[in-house]
């Protein structure tokens, strides 16, 4: 809603109407080249092996060779990679939202002793120069006997997203009117009931925004799954699997393109469905 009113409020255009078609033409041509690499990959995923070489930079495949997708999905193990990615991303999004909203609620709404110290420590670590922390993290995961499991990736991703998400939830919960909570308490709702039935439903926009962010981040994450599932090729995510695929196969370019598109499709799908929301959230982050 806010987006549409904002659009309506846009400032008056300048320039004559005659200039508009030229602007559109320029935007379309530049836009075409902007997404050309991806269009080329989509086309490549549908070309035959020889067609891929013949057509070079061309975008039109001669006939559609869907078998590239079958090759990638079955032959190159992308079905397993896809499942791993889905499991990791789903768990990461869920636990990030749960833990961050819980902590954000407690930090925003109660004045427990030690709260100021806690916030202070976190702010300091935020600005502290980081050492090479992936080595000690690797060590911890190893000692927890979680190395080469999907859980290690989830744990590291959730932990990495904690501070940012918790602070955003804290800020959001501060804006929620205190009266609503007090009314709930008068009606006999306890701490948990207030959180689950009153606060969380109120935070739906924030949950959606941060959920989208952590989805994109987790799905596209490359280093975490690479480092923590190195010993188990069958636990690779799409990003890692795709990257390993390029070194294994120096000839199956069309399947490689198909693999790229399989990895990309869910993100693009989410982006198309929720793009207004994503853009508004990104814009809000810099305005705030």
């Amino acid at each position: 809603m806010a987006a549409t009113t904002a659009v309506r409020r846009r400032r008056r255009g300048h320039g004559s109407p005659l200039r508009m078609p030229i602007t559109h033409a320029l935007l379309l041509i530049c836009g075409f080249f902007w997404v050309y690499p991806m269009l080329w990959a989509i086309a490549g995923s549908l070309k035959s092996d020889s067609g891929f070489l013949d057509s070079g930079l061309g975008l039109l495949p001669h006939g559609t060779h869907w078998h590239n997708y079958v090759d990638a999905w079955n032959g190159a193990n992308f079905s397993a990679y896809f499942t791993n990615s889905v499991i990791i991303t789903a768990c990461t999004v869920f636990f990030t939202l749960l833990f961050a909203s819980m902590a954000g609620y407690a930090l925003a709404r109660t004045n427990f002793p030690g709260k100021k110290v806690l916030i202070g420590v976190i702010l300091v670590t935020f600005f502290l120069p980081r050492g090479y922390t992936i080595v000690p993290v690797y060590d911890i995961i190893n000692q927890l006997y979680l190395l080469d499991t999907l859980w290690s990736v989830v744990l590291v991703q959730v932990a990495g997203a904690m501070v940012f998400n918790t602070f955003l939830f804290m800020g959001y919960f501060r804006t929620v009117a205190k009266e609503i909570e007090e009314a709930a308490r008068v009606d006999g709702a306890g701490f948990h009931q207030t959180y689950f039935y009153i606060i969380l439903p109120l935070a739906r926009p924030m949950l959606a925004t941060l959920g989208l962010f952590s989805f994109i981040q987790s799905w596209n994450d490359f280093m975490t799954p690479l480092v923590f599932t190195l010993g188990q090729p069958h636990l690779r995510t799409l990003s890692v699997g795709l990257y390993a695929f390029i070194s294994q196969t120096s000839t199956d370019w069309t399947a490689l393109c198909a693999g790229s598109i399989i990895s990309l499709a869910p993100i693009i799908l989410v982006f198309v469905v929720a793009q207004r929301h994503i853009v508004a959230a990104i814009a809000g982050a810099v305005k705030g």
């Binding site: 300048h14 070079g56 902590a103 990003s239």
Partner: protein
């Protein structure tokens, strides 16, 4: 409920015997036990995976250690001395600065122009265009690496032959393998990759400028150009500083894109600070495709940690300086505004 709470806090502030105060604090803790329960996952995760690793890696800087077993060879500050004298570190440092110095102005300029065009009220399909130019920002670095490596590959009729047929160049170029070219190619891909974020930031900034200002400017007879310089630019100053800050910080920390495209290679020609530190820490052992960075090195976690801390300090100085400059400018502007209002009142 709330009156009770204020009573309690006021009682806390009143000078009371220590024993009584301690008891009331304990009561306070007990009353908030669920708050502790709610922050527990957050506290544990941050303590174990953020705070402890920072401290631990600070400890590693004092050892010569290959990352296997426990560090035993104590070397004191030797690692920091080595970083300061390591010419590949400084070369990577130079690459990172070049990357930032080229990418930030070019990308912000393009994003601003695009935002100005798309912000036009009479511009149709601006949402569509915004999506098109934003899409690269949601593509994972792994996919970018694969697609560009294929696109640049030397087979069939490719970019090289196209450019040669257009007489833009004379002989094929190894885009990701030629030491003189590779960093510029990465900068170009970097501009392409993250421009979308800055576009959206600028669009958000433009929409915060009240339309009345443009109307007033039109009534005062200001042309398009004058409106741009006297309404749009001042209106974007505040948000523009934040955009600049984020763009510089992000570019100085570039890692994924370079790691997956070249791994810093060939022969460190595209090595940036973070890929260099990564290679030092793991000896190239973790790069899935070999990457083609420099020669494979013996992992040295102590050196990597020291380099990382050293670079972290540099980043802290840069970002701190930038934040101070921003605060100073804001303060000066506020003072100037106040002075102007004062003058107008007189």
């Amino acid at each position: 409920m709330s009156t009770q709470a204020t009573e309690r806090t006021s009682r806390l502030h009143r000078p009371t015997p220590t024993r009584r105060r301690r008891r009331s604090r304990w009561q306070n803790v007990k009353e908030n036990r669920w708050s502790y329960f709610y922050i527990a996952p957050f506290v544990i995760l941050v303590a174990v995976f953020t705070i402890y690793p920072i401290i631990a890696s600070l400890g590693y800087t004092l050892y010569q250690w290959n990352g296997i077993g426990s560090p035993t060879a104590y070397v004191g500050l030797e690692n920091f001395r080595k970083v300061l004298h390591d010419h590949i570190f400084w070369r990577s440092f130079g690459h990172t600065f070049l990357y930032t110095a080229v990418l930030v102005p070019v990308q912000l300029f393009l994003a601003l122009v695009l935002a100005l065009v798309l912000n036009n009220k009479r511009m149709r399909f601006s949402t569509f265009y915004r999506s098109v130019y934003f899409i690269p920002a949601v593509i994972s670095p792994a996919i970018i690496a694969v697609v560009f490596q294929l696109l640049f590959s030397n087979f069939g009729q490719n970019i090289d032959s196209k450019l040669m047929s257009m007489h833009l160049m004379h002989k094929p170029v190894d885009w990701l393998g030629d030491p003189h070219v590779v960093l510029w190619v990465i900068i170009g891909i970097g501009i392409w990759n993250t421009l979308g974020y800055n576009l959206v930031y600028f669009l958000a900034g433009l929409q915060t400028i009240p339309e009345d200002l443009y109307e007033a400017a039109t009534i005062d007879g200001a042309g398009v150009r004058q409106q741009f310089w006297h309404v749009t630019i001042p209106g974007l100053r505040e948000i523009g500083m934040i955009i600049l800050f984020l763009a510089i910080l992000g570019s100085l920390q570039v890692f994924d894109l370079v790691q997956v495209l070249t791994g810093g290679g060939p022969f460190y020609a595209s090595s940036v600070v973070n890929t260099y530190i990564y290679q030092e820490a793991f000896g190239g052992g973790f790069s899935a495709a070999g990457g083609g960075g420099g020669a494979s090195v013996q992992p040295n976690v102590g050196f990597a940690s020291a380099a990382s801390f050293f670079y972290g300090l540099i980043l802290l100085v840069i970002t701190g300086g930038q934040a101070l400059a921003m605060a100073y400018m804001r303060k000066r502007r506020r003072e100037m505004n106040a002075a102007a209002i004062e003058e107008a009142r007189l």
